[in-house]
């Protein structure tokens, strides 16, 4: 029987090694798998490359993972947001690397990684410094830049509901990067607000089919990053 459910965040992240590339879902706090990130902090894996749209805020979640010096490189589109000081401080002293990618190119690169496309052309960033050193090619009179598919060892994502097969549905704009990260990762780990029986999710509305998901852990009442930040909380 296929059953991808595990009991604790600690179990599902236990094999994340030093040097791994990890995609982390979420756009700001919406969709951020904060309990999985905290389990990764507890685990202590270092020298990680992390793919996320941002770099977290305050001193919890992704920001705390960075503050704990576990991340050597961020691949993201917008590394500074409100209440975001951890990454900027480390970046300015040269202690963390940044690969800045336009948000749509980041999304498309992740999808390409998951879909078996090693590289594709896009008009985004042509003529800007983010295209410097990249291959430019003209199709039908317009210039495009070559961008590469992006894969990872792990994806940590958050969803609304899951079943034992790993079928997932999301909540509103908390969906964001998670479905494509689930496609692009060798091992996809989801924290779910609830686990339901196989067949309870309408097959027409499943956003992430189970073959993209390897492990599920139920976190029925996830912490809200913005509340923790407002309260000045730190992790650990």
């Amino acid at each position: 029987m296929i059953d991808k459910r595990f009991d604790s965040p600690a179990e599902v992240v236990a094999d994340i090694c030093d040097g791994a590339t990890i995609m982390i879902g979420g756009f700001g706090e919406a969709g951020s798998p904060i309990e999985l990130i905290h389990a990764l902090i507890d685990l202590g894996a270092k020298n990680l490359t992390v793919v996320n749209n941002n770099t977290g805020s305050g001193h919890v979640g992704l920001a705390a993972l960075i503050e704990n010096r576990q991340v050597s490189k961020m691949i993201c589109s917008f590394p500074r947001t409100a209440n975001s000081t951890v990454f900027p401080d480390l970046y300015q002293v040269g202690e963390i690397e940044l690969e800045l990618v336009p948000q749509g190119t980041l999304a498309e690169r992740i999808r390409a990684g998951g879909a078996g496309v090693p590289a594709f052309y896009t008009a985004t960033s042509v003529g800007t410094e983010l295209a410097e050193g990249k291959e430019i090619r003209n199709f039908e009179g317009r210039d495009y830049v070559l961008e590469y598919g992006l894969k990872s060892d792990f994806a940590l994502i958050k969803c609304e509901q899951a079943d034992r097969y790993g079928n997932l549905i999301y909540n509103k704009t908390a969906r964001n990067f998670s479905p494509i990260m689930a496609m692009a990762a060798e091992t996809t780990i989801a924290q779910a607000g609830a686990c339901v029986e196989a067949g309870e999710l309408d097959p027409e509305v499943i956003i992430t089919p189970g073959l993209f998901v390897n492990r599920i852990v139920t976190v029925a009442d996830p912490a809200r990053e913005s509340r923790l930040v407002a309260e000045g909380r730190r992790y650990p």
């Binding site: 917008f78 985004t124 800007t128 983010l130 509103k172 809200r224």
Partner: protein, 224 residues
């Protein structure tokens, strides 16, 4: 020069609300629109009655509605600026690759953005000052200008230091090349034409020479 309207004086120029209001006149009925953070967000308040406009936010929602009523906020229903919003009846959620397929595939009609500089050929700089010690952050700006059919800019005509933001060529790092169609400033509405900046409309109390003097490149008078 004050560009604020004042009930005791004759109005000179447009304020932020008025710039947004003027831009809103150019949002057509049925348009799919993405609004940048800042003044562009105000456009939604001024779209003329009788026009139905659908707002896209790149973090995965088509049919973005107003700010939620107190007590109705949902931290998982936010816009690209990470503010909590609502969804209209008829809205749809989707993931990031699908959302940017809408942008990059040319399916959004209009995007209204702010600017640091606009060049007379339509080049736009609005993501980075290029300062060595700055943390670079681009977000979806380069995708929007490369993919959306029509790019409108709302910006003060000059910087706080009085430097022109409409220039011959951008000194700041570019967001995109030849992407801007029209600029709404506190002084005027200006199109990017094949001949460069072309004045379309003056703000109240502003004359052509004033705009020309504050523009860092040749300005054509395109008023008919």
């Amino acid at each position: 020069m004050s560009t604020q309207s004042n009930s005791l004086e004759k109005q000179v120029g447009w304020n932020r609300e008025e710039m947004a209001k003027r831009a809103a006149l150019d949002i057509h009925d049925g348009a799919y629109v993405n609004l940048g953070i800042g003044i562009p967000e105000k456009v939604v308040q001024y779209v003329p009655e009788g026009r139905e406009v659908i707002y896209h936010t790149e973090n995965g929602l088509l049919g973005m509605g107003e700010a939620p009523a107190p007590g109705e906020e949902d931290s998982e229903l936010i816009n690209a600026g990470k503010k909590m919003v609502t969804a209209i009846p008829g809205a749809a959620y989707f993931h990031h690759a699908d959302s940017f397929a809408m942008i990059r595939g040319g399916h959004i009609d209009i995007c209204v953005l702010g600017a640091m500089q606009v060049a007379e050929n339509g080049d736009l700089a609005n993501w980075s000052t290029g300062a060595k010690d700055a943390i670079p952050a681009v977000g979806g700006a380069m995708d929007l200008v490369a993919g959306v059919k029509t790019i409108y800019i709302i910006t003060q005509h000059c910087t706080k230091a009085g430097e022109p933001k409409l220039v011959e060529s951008c000194s700041y790092p570019l967001t995109g090349q030849k992407v801007v169609k029209r600029i709404y400033t506190d002084l005027a509405v200006i199109d990017i034409s094949t001949d460069g900046f072309k004045l379309i409309e003056l703000a109240p109390g502003i004359d052509f020479d004033t705009v020309r003097d504050q523009t860092g490149a040749r300005l054509i008078d395109g008023r008919t």
